[in-house]
C-alpha cells in the first residue's frame, strides 16, 4: 500500500481581472511509498511547488483526490511538514524557539517540546546557536533550523520546496549530503521539489519530471545508486546518463511550452 497517493489532480486559477482561467496542474497522479525519497524536477512555472501546497492542504485542488495512509487530505496537519525555500523562520524567535513552533501549535507542554527541540537542533548541528536569532545565522544555518522545525513534529511526510534554492552552489551540495545523512537515520518519506537536476538525481530513489503550463507529469525515473551515497557519485558515468536523460526531457518541455518567453507564472501561495 502506498503511503501518499495523488489521483488526477487538476488546479485552475481564475484571473480576477480578465476572468481568464489558467490551468496550473493537469492530470497529476502519482504514489509515494513509505520511506521513499522522491524528487520533483521541472521548469519554472510547472506547478511543482504548488503541488506541495496541495499536499500540505494550504491550497485546494479544483478536482482530484489526495490521500495519506488511505485517508483523504483535507486540512493542514502535523503528519506533513513543510520546508520552505525562503526558510520562513520567525525572526523574533531564537533558533530553539523556532524549532519549538510546530510542537507548540500542537499543544505539547513547554518542557517536553523544549527537550524535543534541543534534540533536533543538535541533530542539524546548531547546538552552539540555539539562542541565536535567525538574522545572526547564515543561509545554510537558517535552513538547518527550517529542517529541524519540520522534523520536530515527527511528520509522516516531509515536504521540501526548493529548500536549498536560496543557497550558493557549494553550500547546496553540503546541505544535500547532510540531508541524506539525517534521512538515513529514520528514512522518513520525503517529497523534494527542485529545479537543480544534479540535486534531484543525487538525492532521489525516484525522480518525477514535470512539464510547464499546464503542469503535467512527463516521466518517472528510478535512480539505482546504492545508499548511503557519497557526493562523488556526481562524477560517475551513470550519473551523467541520468543528468542527460532529465535534461533532454526538460529542454523539450521548455521549448514546447514557450514558457521561456512568457516568464515565470508560478502562482503565489493562497493565504
Amino acid at each position: 500500500m502506498s503511503q501518499l497517493a495523488l489521483d488526477r489532480l487538476h488546479l485552475a486559477y481564475e484571473n480576477q481581472a480578465t476572468g481568464a482561467s489558467f490551468l496550473a496542474l493537469s492530470e497529476v497522479s502519482f504514489k509515494v511509498e513509505r520511506g521513499e525519497f522522491v524528487t520533483i524536477v521541472g521548469p519554472s512555472g510547472c506547478g511543482k511547488s504548488t503541488l506541495l501546497m496541495l499536499i500540505a492542504a494550504l491550497l485546494k485542488p479544483t478536482s482530484g483526490a489526495l490521500s495519506l495512509n488511505d485517508r483523504p487530505i483535507s486540512q493542514p496537519g502535523s503528519d506533513r511538514a513543510l520546508v520552505f525555500q525562503d526558510f520562513a523562520l520567525l525572526p523574533w524567535r531564537t533558533v530553539l524557539a523556532n524549532v519549538e513552533l510546530g510542537l507548540e501549535l500542537k499543544g505539547v507542554p513547554k518542557d517536553k517540546r523544549r527537550e524535543a527541540a534541543r534534540r533536533y537542533v543538535q541533530m542539524v548541528g546548531l547546538r552552539a546557536f540555539e539562542n541565536s536569532f535567525p538574522h545572526q545565522l547564515s543561509g545554510g544555518m537558517r535552513q538547518r533550523v527550517g529542517i529541524a522545525r519540520a522534523l520536530s513534529v515527527e511528520p509522516e511526510v516531509l515536504l521540501m520546496d526548493e529548500p536549498f534554492g536560496a543557497l550558493d552552489a557549494q553550500i547546496r551540495q553540503v546541505m544535500a549530503s547532510e540531508l541524506l545523512r539525517i534521512w538515513e537515520r529514520d528514512r522518513k518519506t520525503i517529497l523534494f521539489v527542485t529545479h537543480d537536476i544534479d540535486e534531484a538525481v543525487y538525492l532521489a530513489d525516484r525522480i518525477i519530471v514535470m512539464s510547464a503550463s499546464p503542469g503535467r507529469i512527463v516521466k518517472e525515473i528510478k535512480v539505482d545508486f546504492p545508499r548511503p551515497r557519497e557526493l562523488a557519485i556526481r562524477n560517475t558515468p551513470e550519473f551523467t546518463l541520468y543528468r542527460k536523460q532529465i535534461w533532454d526531457l526538460l529542454e523539450e518541455q521548455i521549448r514546447n511550452s514557450g514558457s521561456w518567453e512568457q516568464g515565470d507564472v508560478e502562482p503565489a501561495v493562497a493565504s
Partner: protein, 276 residues
Amino acid sequence: MSSLPSQAEARLAPRAAPRAFQRALQPWMRAIVGVGGVLVFLVVWQIVGSQDLIRSDLISYPTEVLRSLYAMVASGELWANLSVTLQEFVLGFFPAIVLGVALGLAFALSRRLLYLFDPLFAALYTAPMIAFVPVLVVWFGVGLVSKAVMVFLSAFIPIVINTRTGVEEVPEAPIRALKAFGASRWQIIAKGLLPGALPAIMAGLRLAVGRSIVSLVAAEMYVSVRGIGRLVQVYSTSDRAAEIFVLVLVISSLGFLGVVLIRRIEAYVAPWSAAR
C-alpha cells in the same frame, strides 16, 4: 542614552556611505563633544545672566535655577505637583496602550473598520489635542480625570497608527510558516502578528510619551488645581524665570525618562529588532 536612529528609520534610510571629508566619531568622542556643547551653553548663559547683560529676571542663570530647584524640592512644592502630573499620566497612558494596540490590530485585520475610521483618525492625528481641553473640563471637571483623558487621547492615536502599520508590515513568510504548521487565527495573531509588530508598537509608545506630556502640561496650564503645568502657570504670572526653567527641566526630564524606559523595555521584549 544613545541617539541611534530608530529601527524604522534605519530600515527606510539607505545606509550612508562613509564620507571621506567627515570621519565618523568614536562613541566616546561623540559623548564628549555632546557634553561639551551643553557646558559651553551653560557657561555663556551663566555669564550673560549673572552679569545682567540681559535682564536676569527675564532669563535667569544656571546657579539661580539650581537654587530654585533646591528650594522647590525642600518645600515639597515640586513633589506635591509632580505626583499629580505623574498620576494623570499613568491613568491615561496605560489604557491608551491597551486600547490603542487593540484598535490598531483591528484596523490591520479589517478593511471595513479601517475604511470607516481612517479619515477620522487622520484628522485627529493632526488636530492639536489641546483644543479639546475646554470640553474635557466641562465633561470631567478641573481635576485629575480631565487630564488623564487628555493623556489618553494624545497617546492613543499614535499607538493605534503605529500598531496598524506594524501589523501590516509583518512579513508574509513567518505567517505562511504558522499556517503550514496548523496555527489557528488567534495563534497567528498572538504568535505572528503581535510579536512581529512589537518594534513598531514600541516606536509608537515613544512617540506617544512625547505627545501626551506636551498636552498634559498644556492642559494643566489651562485649568487645574495642581500639577507641573499649574506651577508653570502660577510662576509665569509672577515673572519668575528661574522657577519656570526648573519646571521646563522637570518636564523634559519626564519625557526623556519615559523614552529611555521604553527603549529599555524594547531591548528586553524585542531583542531581535534592537540588535539588528
